[in-house]
């Protein structure tokens, strides 16, 4: 029985050679039971291979990547950064008119994809690196940040609440600016949250799946907060153990949580939490 099993398997995986193979094939032509066994083994081994392919693809799907639609174009990165700042500023504008002159904080360094690129430097192809220079010098960038913010103060003394993503994705909605009754800036979160503390691979990560936020890691239940900010665009932050994290709602890949370093932005978020 064992011999027959081994012979069939050897034949199916292509390890049966020479006269042994010829003899087997002769027998195969005559024996319908053997034909059935060979067909079954073919299907089973194919099934095992398919399972491995599926496993490898699942593994790859969980790798955080910098896709074309995510941060592929550096201009989009900048726009997204400015947008995030604009959202917060918009909130301040609506909520606290006395803070009108505060500059829009740029949170470009908080973009998950940029952080991802930073966490795993891999100089396989220098050509590729040229396309994302911002990822290669993250520390310098964050050190320079206060200066940049000051410059923005000087260039844009008036705060204009502009969300460039609207221009890219939808028709411009200038009526929104004319709204006499501002909508609530900070709302109680309606985002469903799920904690996954069983993953050994992801210790402090997140992703959005079907509108639900999944946090990976050992989060003390109840000690984290989700802050939603409604400016021209909806924006979500996580507060956990004195740290604030910007959450990209479009981030379906599992992404590391990276604390916001922009002190100005952190200050504003602290103010919101206090309300």
């Amino acid at each position: 029985m064992m011999e027959n099993f081994e012979l069939i398997e050897k034949y199916v995986v292509g390890r049966l050679q020479g006269p042994e193979k010829e003899e087997f094939e002769l027998q195969l032509q005559k024996d319908t039971s053997l034909q059935r066994d060979v067909a079954l083994q073919r299907q089973i081994i194919e099934g095992v291979k398919n399972a491995r392919i599926a496993e490898l693809k699942t593994m790859l799907s969980q790798v955080p990547v910098t896709g074309l639609m995510q941060t592929g174009v550096s201009a989009i990165k900048i726009i997204t950064g400015i947008t995030a700042g604009a959202i917060i500023t918009a909130s301040i504008f609506y909520f606290k008119p006395s803070l009108k002159e505060t500059a829009a904080p740029v949170v470009e360094n908080e973009l998950p994809a940029v952080q991802n690129a930073k966490t795993e430097p891999d100089p396989i192809d220098p050509k590729e690196d040229k396309t994302s220079p911002s990822a290669s010098e993250p520390n310098k960038e964050s050190k320079k940040k206060p200066l940049v913010s000051k410059k923005q103060n000087a260039v844009h003394p008036k705060i204009e609440v502009v969300d460039p993503t609207h221009e890219l994705a939808k028709e411009p909605t200038h009526e929104e600016e004319k709204r006499s009754k501002p909508q609530s800036v900070i709302v109680t979160t309606r985002v469903g949250v799920e904690i996954n503390s069983s993953s050994s691979k992801y210790s402090f990560h997140y992703q959005f799946l079907q509108g639900k936020l999944i946090l990976y890691g050992i989060f003390d239940n109840g000690l984290y907060e989700i802050i939603e900010v409604n400016g021209d665009t909806h924006s979500i932050f996580l507060y956990y153990k004195d740290g604030y994290y910007l959450l990209n709602e479009k981030q379906s890949a599992i992404t590391p949580l990276t604390a916001i370093k922009d002190l100005e932005l952190v200050k504003k978020l602290k103010e919101y939490r206090g309300k």
Binding site: G47, L56, K57, G67, P126
Partner: protein, 190 residues
């Protein structure tokens, strides 16, 4: 000059990464996946594919690359990215042909698709899930990755190759039993 030095280093890294993949290091595959994601998906997206299709093609290409590298028969004569790019190109061409054929078949003969095949695949996939994690790994490493018994023993922490061999035999037997129990008589023949 500095650029040259960097390029030399990157080539060395590429050799190292390829070496790790050949040895079955999945982390190295993840590094490659991340590194070339944009380059490879762009190929599909700029040739009338969606981002999902692009990701799927790229993942399939890396699986092919993985299997070829693991077989020990692959000798890279070009850059790794060039090789993977060519696999992506071939896979995407095939997919476009398949789509074209499918739309023609739909017009000509709508019932030419084997309906039993996906069903049988589902049964086997379900049976695989019923096996324990170790059994699944032993079988996948043996049949897909074509690992030797020594490699399987090392990777899964078995005492020796005999243990790996016995484990593989028993796991395969278990899988066969599970599949046979769910198959109807008709399913045994293609």
């Amino acid at each position: 000059m500095a650029l040259r030095v960097f390029k030399l280093n990157s080539q060395l890294d590429e050799v190292e990464i390829f070496d790790r993949i050949q040895k079955g290091d999945e982390k190295a595959l993840e590094i490659v996946y991340k590194k070339y994601y944009r380059m490879m998906t762009k190929l599909v997206i700029s040739n009338s594919g969606t981002e999902d299709e692009a990701r799927d093609v790229y993942q399939d290409a890396l699986v092919v690359f993985w299997q070829k590298a693991r077989s020990g028969n692959l000798v890279l004569t070009s850059k790794m990215s060039t090789y993977i790019y060519s696999i992506c190109q071939n896979l995407w061409r095939k997919e476009l042909d398949r789509k074209k054929r499918l739309s023609n078949e739909e017009r000509d003969s709508p019932d030419s698709i084997d309906m039993d095949k996906p069903e049988r695949e589902k049964i086997i996939a379900h049976c695989m899930e019923q096996l324990g994690e170790t059994c699944r790994k032993v079988l996948m490493y043996y049949y897909f990755d074509e690992m030797s018994m020594q490699e399987i023993a090392d990777k899964l922490g078995f005492a020796n190759t005999d243990t790996a061999k016995t484990k593989k035999y028993k796991c395969k037997q278990k899988l066969d039993e599970l599949v046979k129990a769910q198959y109807t008589e008709q399913d045994f023949l293609d």
